[in-house]
Amino acid sequence: MAALDINLVELPRWNCCGTVYSLAEDDLIHHVAAVRNLIRVKQQGKNKVVTLCAFCYNTLKRANLVMKDSPDKRFAINSFMDEEPDYAGEVETVHLLQVMRDDVGLEKIAARVKKPLKDIKVAAYYGCTLLRPQVVAIDSVERPLVLQDVLRAVGATAVEFPFATECCGAYQVVNNRDIVSERTAAILDSAAKNGAEAVAVSCPLCEYNLRQVPAGTDHAGMPIFYFTQLMALAFGLGPEACAFEENSPQTRAWLKSKGLTS
């Protein structure tokens, strides 16, 4: 982020966002974890929090809408957390892709590129929670463009494919791995059929799930990146910024074969 003159501050005492936004009308306890994080942000004197994860984005953003728009629920949640200061939805939650598009800007990203990622075809995969429901969507619900724009800015060929907004299976990976591997196999298959050789994601859980395609099946070793890794690569930043040791061995081997890493 320093390469883009953005100074991120880690939130002290952050906790899990709660993972899933509860849809039950009276299930307020599930919003408490998310709201606590928002209170932490407010306590820092800040009004904006950025997430790397699409799920965190969705949960925080929607919990914030509850606090902002539903006085009764706001009262109940604030009363329950009586050791915390009262909160009324003052903090804006954004995803890192929005920071890239709206705060940094695509032109600035393009200007920072030292090694354009020429000749690599990357599928832009969003999953669902950055785009659904519509009130929290960071881009067009059905035809989002922001990730393709970022990929193009760093010189890659962005591949659009029909499964770009299909769900990866999300937390089902905990109790029903088959659902996830079935879905992610279909996603990678669709990406490959549309000409992609790698996939860029905007969510760590999507990344994890896309790696659950069983070995030996089609596209099992397809390289998968969190989108900032490709940006770091194009900016010519070192291994500590690229963090490719977190990716699969196949992904690292692919980078080498493309001459992108030594």
Binding site: S140, E142, R143, P162, S190, K193
Partner: protein, 454 residues
């Protein structure tokens, strides 16, 4: 009332409603000017393959009416023309009509066809909804009325050449073609012909401006694909006079589609992203298209996704049952996504009667897009002071007792300009509006109430 009572009518729009209104006023013994902005009358109806529920051919049943318009002594037909302004009051409107330059002198032209057969410039045909080409000098379709061509100026090579030279632009010159002029046996091509402004006085106006289909782009989850068609495009594919001479084939590869999905309510009854109202004709024409498809491809499977079928006209429910009986599969549910996968279009939907998700690998998809007011109608209504509703359709003077009058005395409405409707209703309204005009002309003078200026 001191102003002269002009017992002459203006009908705006040359589709079936406008044609019917003009003919009935003319038959009633009064002069009518019929203004149509495209080069031929006929409207959307002339594009259809066969019309429900009787399955008769519009080219057969409509052309006699079109020819009658052209030959009726009381009708002045102005095609390729648009109303520019209107002032005055009921009984005495002053109208300015722009006769757009045709660049062909219709007094000399005998409609021989040499020019449009030899013109080298090919342009997507509006009549065939972009699925076939026409030439730059053209009649829109073989049964066009008038059967004399116009030159499509933005596409004509010589006109582009002249503009290029006049503006002293840099780059490659368009060719100085002039083939039509060289070959025309009667010297009818007139490059200097200007747009002409015609001023007329009329006592009454009938708005019959028709409709368009909502564009695909409003539903981004349905892929834009050569094999995803709107209802009118599929009519052209079914039509014996269409781009494939009636052969039902996929635009992408010319193969016969074996699995065809029809989707009702694409944008209709969808207040959030489309329009809140029912478009009224989609249930029926999709059933008809599915049936005609089954007749063309007996071993093919047709699916219709619907919310509920609306078949309230005479013989309509029987027609739906006929389609079901002939093997069209009705699935009650909406389609969430359409996208290409190799040779097929994947259609994700739901069958809410069985509670199951449905996925179909289709060869062709037909979308029943919502009916919306015709492009530019709103601007015309504003010029006339006619009030339209939030969806752009003309508001009637009274929804029950004055359904053919607009809020402006002396201005009447017929057909889809008032709201979505089928052909019988459009024709009935055309006749009804003509009846209102005739009743008005039968008065000695416009009443006090009618003397409201535009």
């Amino acid at each position: 009332m001191s102003a002269e009572f002009v017992k002459k009518a203006l009908v705006i729009g040359g589709g079936i409603a406008g044609i019917q209104a003009a003919l009935d006023i003319a038959d009633g013994g009064y002069q009518v000017i019929l203004v149509e902005r495209s080069p031929s009358i006929g409207g959307h109806m002339i594009q259809y393959a066969e019309v429900f529920p009787t399955l008769d051919c519009p080219q057969c049943i409509m052309t006699p009416k079109m020819v009658e318009i052209a030959q009726h002594p009381n009708v002045t037909l102005m095609t390729h023309a648009e109303v520019r302004s209107v002032s005055g009051t009921a009984g005495n409107f002053e109208v300015e009509i722009v006769q757009k330059a045709r660049k062909v002198d219709h007094k000399k032209c005998n409609g021989c066809g040499t020019c449009w057969q030899k013109c080298p410039e090919k342009v997507p045909s509006e009549y065939n909804e972009g699925m076939a080409k026409r030439t730059a000098v053209y009649i829109p379709f073989p049964q066009a009325v008038p059967a004399k061509p116009v030159i499509d100026q933005p596409h004509c090579r010589y006109i582009r050449y002249r503009q290029f030279m006049a503006e002293k632009r840099a780059g490659k010159k368009p060719p100085e073609c002039r083939i039509c002029e060289k070959l025309c046996p009667v010297g009818a091509i007139d490059w200097e012909q200007p747009d002409e402004i015609v001023r007329e006085k009329v006592g009454a106006i009938v708005l019959a401006t028709g409709f368009d289909l909502m564009p695909f782009s409003r539903i981004p989850e349905y892929a834009e694909d050569p094999d995803v068609l709107n209802g009118i495009q599929f009519e052209r594919l079914l039509s014996p006079g269409g781009p494939t001479a009636g052969a039902v084939i996929r635009p992408s590869d010319g193969k016969t589609p074996k699995e065809v999905v029809f989707v009702a309510c694409c944008g209709s009854r969808d207040p959030e992203r489309g329009v809140p109202y029912c478009s009224r004709v989609c249930c029926m024409y999709l059933a008809k298209q599915a049936l005609l498809y089954k007749h063309a491809v007996p071993d093919g499977q047709a699916y219709v996704f619907y919310i509920d079928t609306r078949s309230t006209g005479k013989g309509y429910e029987e027609f739906i049952q006929r389609a079901v009986g002939e093997g069209v599969l009705y699935l009650r549910g909406k389609v969430s996504r359409i996208f290409r996968e190799g040779d097929k279009l994947r259609v994700y939907g739901a069958d809410t009667l069985s509670g199951k998700r449905v996925e179909i690998a289709a060869d062709l998809v037909v979308l029943g897009m919502a009916i919306v007011p015709s492009d530019g109608a709103g601007e015309l209504f504003r010029k006339l002071g006619v009030i339209a509703d939030e969806n752009g359709f003309v508001t009637e003077s009274h929804p029950k007792f004055h359904p053919l009058e607009t809020k402006v005395p002396g201005i009447f409405v017929a057909g889809m300009a008032q709201g979505p409707k089928d052909i019988p209703d459009a024709v009935a309204q055309g006749s009804g509006a003509a009846g209102r005009v005739l009743a008005f002309f039968a008065q000695g003078a416009p009443s006090e109430k009618q003397a409201v200026p535009v």
